[in-house]
């Protein structure tokens, strides 16, 4: 960054501005909620990576011990086939997190790019894109994903693609709205006067100022995509056994709701905690990345 050389050359400058990431880390560390969110998210990621290695085989069936309530042997109980629920949650975390995070990330990359371009240029491209987006938004998110997954065929990659594509219209809508609002601000005229290219304006001026909206969208979309994966898998359009996910566990627990409510409860809690984690993390990130936030 430029300031380093300037300050190095002139010894009179008393305080050297810290590089940005240090400042961001410092500000992040000062927010207990954000740190909690980070711990939750990192915890689940580690759980997904290490759980299947450390815990018992999630697919090992034990017909002597079906639908057992939580005990020392089976911390979270067993399911209808006598499989250990805790091990299965660890195993399912991989698919659920992958589906949630990857599809959302993909949707953000595509949606933000298209949204910024259409919102920035307006014109006929915008009209056409928004027509398509409106049509897509007329379908509920899941119906669209189901249709797409049915065409693509059942696999984790296709689930991610189907979920990503169905999220894209909403992201486009948000990014376009932000682009349209921010491009009217005077600092964008200033950038034009600087001689900035359109791409520079979109990605250096508009996108950083829309970051808050994108982060909020991500924190909402990740849990929704985790549930979406569940539905696809439930319909046989998602991952196939022996692979599993929280969503599959949740949906298959439905038939035992009366006898073994904990079967639905634990994957439900896992999903809720993940959602909470991403939410807190997102809020924290939005704040620390905003230089106007004073804390």
């Amino acid at each position: 960054m430029s300031q380093k050389l300037i300050t190095a050359k002139r010894k009179t400058v008393s305080s050297i501005p810290r590089p940005r990431w240090q400042r961001v880390v410092r500000r992040f560390a000062r927010r207990p909620m954000a740190v909690t969110g980070l711990i939750l998210v990192v915890g689940f990621v580690l759980f997904a990576l290490l759980g299947p290695i450390l815990l018992s085989d999630p697919n090992q069936q034990d017909f002597a011990a079906i639908l057992q309530t939580p005990s020392l042997a089976h911390l979270l109980g067993t399911d209808d086939l006598g499989r250990d629920v805790f091990a299965r949650i660890a195993n399912g975390a991989r698919v659920s997190l992958m589906a949630g995070v990857m599809s959302t990330a993909l949707a953000l990359i595509i949606g933000i790019t298209i949204g910024l371009i259409t919102g920035f240029y307006r014109g006929w491209v915008d009209v056409i894109v928004m027509r398509i987006v409106d049509v897509m938004l007329a379908f509920p998110f899941l119906i669209f994903a189901v249709g797409l997954a049915a065409i693509l065929g059942a696999s984790l990659t296709n689930v991610i693609i189907a979920l990503a594509v169905s999220q894209v219209p909403e992201v486009i809508r948000i990014a376009r709205g932000e682009a349209m609002a921010i491009r009217e601000q005077e600092f964008v005229s200033g950038a034009v006067a600087d001689g900035a290219r359109d791409g520079t304006i979109m990605f250096r001026y508009i996108a950083p100022n829309a970051m808050g909206a994108f982060i909020v969208q991500a924190t909402v979309a990740i849990p929704a995509a985790i549930i979406g994966e569940a539905t696809l898998s439930f319909l046989g359009l998602g991952v196939q056994p022996p692979m599993s996910s929280w969503g599959i566990m949740l949906t298959s627990a439905q038939q035992y709701l009366a006898q073994a409510p904990y079967l639905a409860l634990f994957p439900g809690i896992a999903i809720a905690l993940t959602a909470l984690g991403f939410n807190l993390l997102g809020d924290g990130l939005r704040d620390v990345l905003d230089p106007k936030e004073t804390r």
């Binding site: 430029s2 006067a193 001689g195 230089p291």
Partner: protein, 345 residues
Amino acid sequence: MSEQPVLEVSNLVKHFQSGSRLGGGRTVVRAVDGVDLTIGRGEILGLVGESGSGKSTVGSCIARLTQPTSGTIRLLGRDISTLSRREMRPLRSEVHVVFQDPYSSLNPRMTVGQIVTEPLRQHHRGGRAERNRIVSDMLERTGLSLELVGRYPHELSGGQRQRVALARALVLGPSLVIADEPVSALDVSVQASILNVILDLQVELGFSCLFITHDLSVVEFISDRIAVMYLGKIVETATRAELFRDPQHPYTQALLSAAPMADPSSARGRERIILSGDLPSPTEEISGCPFHARCPVAIDRCRTEVPRLLGVTSPEHQSACHLVTAENGAPHIKQGDKNLVHNAS
């Protein structure tokens, strides 16, 4: 050097379409309606007028932040009025802008250092060390401590922000700076320091400047020449001394008489003209002189015939009023013929 002006604007028009497409109530806002301007090398031209008279629109057309409806804009002899965004980009090193609100005109996510470096980056000027040298030099010239390079705009005072905006506008060494009310949002003491900096830098760097303001005392302080704008048109232009000595257009006279003077004895002694009515809406098409509805000395001809901007008394002093004649000079609205006064209140 040739005597070629830095900027030559002729018959600039900018009409905005407004109103809903559905309601059928589509109206045209005649923000700028035929403006001619010339700015010589190293000259500061002050553009004054009431809010809504089209000053900012003129500025942003010249900087090509807005596409003019028609007319020509010659920057250093080259017509830029129809250039595309891409064609215009290399020429942006020759013209930059300073806006009224120094807060909204700076990217809130960039540091001062980044903001001032940005024009150099866009025009691929210098290497890193070279850029740092230019930027520190510019910050120093605008009176900013180098400690501020790492700060964000919201961490600066209004005056400091405006200095950053100025440093950024001047860092490429443009021939023309368009300053749109650069001190209007500032307190007097801060305003004073910014005006001083602008004048100092103008002498050091030699740029020309279109200085837009609604404040007559500011325009009198800073300008070499002044153009008065009313309802999308220039109604009078003259050198600073000449305009204050002999305001010819009735609107200029009213403006001068209404301007607050920070001197109780003369402020109270003078006879002031209070115009009736407000600035007409720029959506209505006005026949004849744009000022006739408020002009205390309007005659019948004013309602039908548009007065042209002419140097009647001298080529350097132009005004657009039927009553300015070579024989009698300008009308004086304070002592206007009783029969003519029908708009004064």
